[in-house]
Amino acid sequence: MANMDSDSRHLLIPEGDHEINPGPMNIQFDSSDIRSKRPFYIEPTNIVSVNDVIQRVSDHASAMNKRIHYYSRLTAPADRALIAPDHVVPAPEECYVYSPLGSAYKLQCYTEGYGKNTSLVTIFMIWNTMLGTSILSIPWGIKQAGFTTGMCVIMLMGLLTLYCCYRVVKSRSMISSVDTTTWEYPDVCRYYFGSFGQWSSLLFSLVSLIGAMIVYWVLMSNFLFNTGKFIFNFIHHINDTDSIPSTNDSNPVICPSARSGGHPDNSSVIFYASNSELQQFEKWWNKSKTVPFYLIGLLLPLLNFKSPSFFSKFNILGTVSVLYLIFLVTWKAIRLGFHLEFHWFMPTEFFVPEIRFQFPQLTGVLTLAFFIHNCIITLLKNNKNQENNVRDLSIAYMLVTLTYLYIGVLVFASFPSPPLSKDCIEQNFLDNFPSSDILSFIARIFLLFQMMTVYPLLGYLARVQLLGHVFGDVYPSIFHVLIFNLFIVGAGVIMACFYPNIGGIIRYSGAACGLAFVFIYPSLIYIISLHQEDRLTWPKLIFHVFIIILGLANLIVQFFM
């Protein structure tokens, strides 16, 4: 019939303007939108008798499935127009797969991005990621700030950084016009500040990563040196009584910086004229002259790996190290007892005043200690109950604050002050224990291994970000990567040789990258988004500008201390 022909004819011509035919329509190329690949069930076929055991899907879901099936045939696979939005599709738990034999199975694995971590796991992951090597500098920071001031500063910084972290987490939800489900914080910065936002957030992220890697190198040289010394002394039964002031009991605590008037000196001056073997050892195993270079041989090859996922298997070492440190500190505190005296403003021979004006050094360290803002969105994405995100984040921050307070306060309080001055507390508190001390030897070994596994991961992150941004390819060639790695390793070696003050490195890099990610960006983005929605009020504006000023002051004042 003529009518039928014309009917069918209109079906053969694609509707709309006569554009390039996209080709045989059954070639599906990979749509980057995972929602278009969401699973749907296969209808039970050939069911002769209704079996009560078989799960039946509701009519509503069955109709929705047919709808989605049909709509998917109406557009090109890359077209997002007719992809089912989240709120109409049943939740993943309600999806069943029907086998043609008639039985139904619930889906076990969900597409990536659906949160599967319970609150406890999320809190633990945040705690684990935040606790880094800055834990070793907290007692020194408390010493620099004074005991009372130190404790107050730790709690206040915890609250401030928590608030800024909350702002980071909420920043995505204030963008309503674009789909932000795959965004991380640098993407939000790029959305608000254009390419300036993107490369500046890249720059600051690199500052924090490279700063961390330099600290790692210094610490690794330190721990490797002490481990080597311990093993050598143990093998050769040398009792290492050098001229460093220390306590004279079974729990020795040393004050390495007392000799040279406050500057940590990495050369140990020991005169054992009759023992040339020891002299040789001292010559070849020197904390600042030789050990940093030995590390190059170990770590540079590891940095060149294309994918360091092998190292992420050792993540558990970090937790073990922290737990061991907590145990160590508790044990030492029990053995050494508490030595606290409260002098408010004037320093005494053995004690520091409660309130000191060098507390910004502590805030600098804490900015890095509480830093997780560049990856918090990713960590919270996998939380099963997204509505608990803020609660879980707050709990994690509280636990981190408690951990820092615990270790800082215990080390500070138990430092044996009558023979030694509190001023002796080193920037790395393990340095206050002699290399012959077994417990701290174990701590150093743990930390050494842990850092050796985290170092390639940090290098990978820095490399991916920098090379990916500059060259567009995360592994342009072995030469680019090698040069990049040499640069980083060189920086670490130089610092280890000439400026091994991890407290200093931490506070400078912490204040610098914290300036962007902790203080300026979250507050500025919040102010801008409120302004765009006309919800900006004077108190909010003043409060957030105050936060920005605090961040700036934090950085500037580091250079005056």
Binding site: M1, N3, M4, D7, S8, H10, L11, L12, I13, P14, E15, G16, D17, E19, P22, P24, M25, N26, N46, V48, D59, H60, S62, A63, M64, K66, R67, H69, Y70, Y71, R73, L74, T75, A76, D79, R80, A81, L82, A84, P85, H87, V88
Partner: protein, 313 residues
């Protein structure tokens, strides 16, 4: 006579981005060749070949877009657009934040209708209702319906709430098509007789291009209330597959030990689906019955033909 020479129009209008192209694509099984979230407006007169219910041509128009070019084009072409309009379907986006503007454009369309085609039927679709929370939907729809009814006076408008993600779109369009068929009650009575004579469980009458259910008869309660839309989607999907092979769909028989279903061309504008639950009746018998009924129903159409332009060839 000018009326028979010119095709009668069904206008699908609404603001740019309100969902008209997706709606047309879904109802008429057109492949959308481009991203519907485009920034340009629709200039859609001559390119539209979508026909249904005999001689009705579907035209899509963006009304009240931001583009001044479109505004001018629209205003200058207004009489052309609104001439010979049989049906106006106006789509409102429920999420729109410019309610005043939407109503303003709607009213100007109504004015044009009053001038050019005062007998046209008017339907208003409040679309994208899935974006509203479930407990608020009835309330919001009732508000909108009252406003629209009020604004449309002296013309009468029928309002529906729709979303492409549930059955409401299909139901709304089915109701629209149902109201466009003049002798629909008579059709239904004849359909019921037909069903009872051949002892069918259920008989459905579909519109040919869109497989919208025009009328149906069922002799007992069916479990799935969504079956009409499902069948429509399945067949439209099948038609799309057929078109890839340059074949066209004519009829289908589905049978197992419990039932037999027949989908076949019926009249020039309709398809019929007959569901028999008695498997002992041979297919040939049912097919003969359908063929005889076809002749009867075609006569019905022709009898009412001259008076009602819709179903006229």
């Amino acid at each position: 006579m000018p009326n028979t020479a010119m095709k009668k129009k069904v206008l699908l209008m609404g603001k740019s981005g309100s969902g008209k192209t997706s709606m047309r694509s879904i109802i008429f099984a057109n492949y959308i060749a481009r991203d519907t979230r485009r920034l340009g407006a629709t200039i859609d007169v001559e390119h539209s070949h979508v026909r249904f219910l005999g001689n009705l041509v579907l035209n899509l128009w963006d009304c009240g877009g931001q583009d001044t070019f479109m505004e001018n084009y629209f205003t200058s072409q207004r009489d052309n657009i609104f001439r010979n309009v049989e049906v106006l379907i106006y789509v409102f986006d429920v999420e729109s934040r410019e309610l005043e503007k939407d109503m303003h454009y709607y009213q100007s369309c109504l004015e044009a209708i009053l001038q050019n085609a005062p007998d046209a039927k008017i339907f208003c679709l409040v679309h994208k209702m899935d974006l509203v929370q479930e407990d608020q939907r009835d309330l919001i729809f009732k508000e909108r319906e009252e406003d629209l009814r009020r604004l449309s006076r002296p013309l009468e408008c029928a309002c529906f709430r729709t979303s492409i993600w549930d059955e409401t779109l299909y139901k709304a369009w089915s109701s629209i098509v149902y109201q466009l068929i003049p002798n629909v009650q008579q059709l239904e009575m004849n359909l019921r007789n037909f069903a009872q004579i051949i002892e069918a469980d259920e008989v459905l009458l579909f519109e040919r291009a869109t497989f919208l259910v025009i009328s149906h008869y069922q002799c007992k309660e069916q479990r799935d209330v969504h079956r009409f839309e499902k069948i429509s989607n399945i067949i439209k999907q099948f038609k799309l597959s057929c078109s890839k092979l340059a074949a066209s769909f004519q009829s289908m028989e589905v049978r197992n030990s419990n039932f037999a279903a027949f989908i076949d061309i019926f009249t020039s504008n309709t398809y019929v689906m007959v569901v028999m639950s008695d498997p002992s009746i041979p297919s040939a018998a049912t097919l003969i019955n359908i063929r005889n009924a076809r002749k009867h129903f075609e006569k019905l159409e022709r009898v009412d033909g001259p008076k009602h332009s819709l179903l006229m060839r």
